[in-house]
Assembly symmetry: C2
Homo-oligomer: 230 residues x 2
């Protein structure tokens, strides 16, 4: 772990993927691809455009929401903690692909540019640069980065005040927190088994970007308290 990083943030099982082959010939996909002058295999699956085609996909309700992934990423990368290299961010997709962002890398704020970057990254699978690519599951990712502890945020978890969680994280050796990068549903059993615990931070089910924003903010406050009391 780099000396500054106090938190690894993983947007897990993210609803981010290229259009799967099984629906590449559907009219909503073909029209979108033609309009953008790209092959269907090179465009992101997007429920707001490919809704009709997605109805035949398995677990369609958890898929095709690059907009949510973008919002969640920006809610992390726009913060002082991230910009001062205190947080590292990973996107793990439901297909077990991991996009690892080099510390302090700023993703595009424009959705169009983010979409184009994600399409290119998922297609070209770069081994180095500002975003590096790994084919790995959540357990393998956690093991590679040596996270300790790994905590998932979920409405299925035990209630805990976010302030208290942040203090625990800041006191830990190399903590990782997983936020679900999907609009509905829960982490898979494979993901859950790899975690030390699941924590619920609000009485309401919160969007991933709200969870991530609040987690980073409380982590900043916990870092500040630690610094001022030491």
């Amino acid at each position: 772990m780099s000396s500054n990083v106090v938190l690894n943030l993983i947007i897990a099982e993210a609803a981010l993927e290229l259009v799967p082959g099984e629906i590449s010939r559907h009219a909503s996909v073909r029209n979108d691809a033609r309009r953008r002058d790209l092959e269907p295999s090179r465009i992101l699956l997007d429920r707001s455009i490919h809704h009709a085609a997605m109805l035949r996909l398995k677990e369609d309700y958890k898929r095709g929401r690059p907009d949510l992934v973008h919002l969640t990423l920006l809610s992390i990368t726009s913060t002082p903690l991230y910009q001062q290299a205190g947080a590292k961010v990973y996107i793990h997709t439901r297909d077990d692909l991991v996009l690892e962002f080099k510390e302090q890398t700023r993703p595009p704020k424009s959705y169009f540019r983010f979409r184009d970057l994600m399409q290119q990254t998922l297609y070209e699978k770069p081994g180095s640069g500002l975003i590096t690519f790994h084919a790995e599951s959540v357990p393998r990712l956690l093991s590679r980065i040596g996270s300790d502890p790994a905590i998932g945020l979920s409405v299925q978890g035990n209630p805990m005040k976010l302030e208290d969680l942040a203090i625990q994280l800041v006191g830990a050796k190399n903590p990782a927190v997983l936020v679900g990068g999907f609009p509905k549903g829960h982490f898979t059993p494979e993901t859950t088994k790899a975690l030390e615990k699941l924590v619920r931070i609000d009485a309401n089910a919160l969007d991933a970007h709200v969870v991530a924003a609040r987690l980073v903010y409380e982590t900043e406050k916990a870092v500040g308290h630690r610094s001022s009391s030491s």
Copy 2:
């Protein structure tokens, strides 16, 4: 003020406008309009697309960022406070147009749908519905809603802990907070003069969506503390 609303949030001088006539014949605008099968006068000014055309606009650095306005709006409307009708949100544009969102109205999370909704609203200027339209400056908006106090968040303000500001707001009669809806620069003197004070909540200059997310979160916590101590 409706009985539940504890906070009026104004995204002020927002970088949201239709393409101004003076650049409607520029190639980047004409191409975009043709691709989307719309008149130039009906599309949103967007720096990520119309950059070359915008160089000839006055204060171009503060304009054409509907993506930032979208992010800021979602960072408010995705929260429990907003969803329980505890916050009301307004977008005030640099052209002195105000879009007022009916309590609990959820704007589209997809950027495409948001863009289309804003284009339609700015063009059609609806007098009623989920979004109502007023042509008014910040001073007139604050006077119409009877805000007390009206506070602006700005790096030019006096430093104050956000927790303390939130406690003040929750104890006030009908508070309004302004967050700048632009990527660079500061509130105009006209806006600043209409405010009780300017407050700076971080040592860093923060993006509007980060400011709004943190403000709503601290307001929720202040409301919770007030409820549990009364």
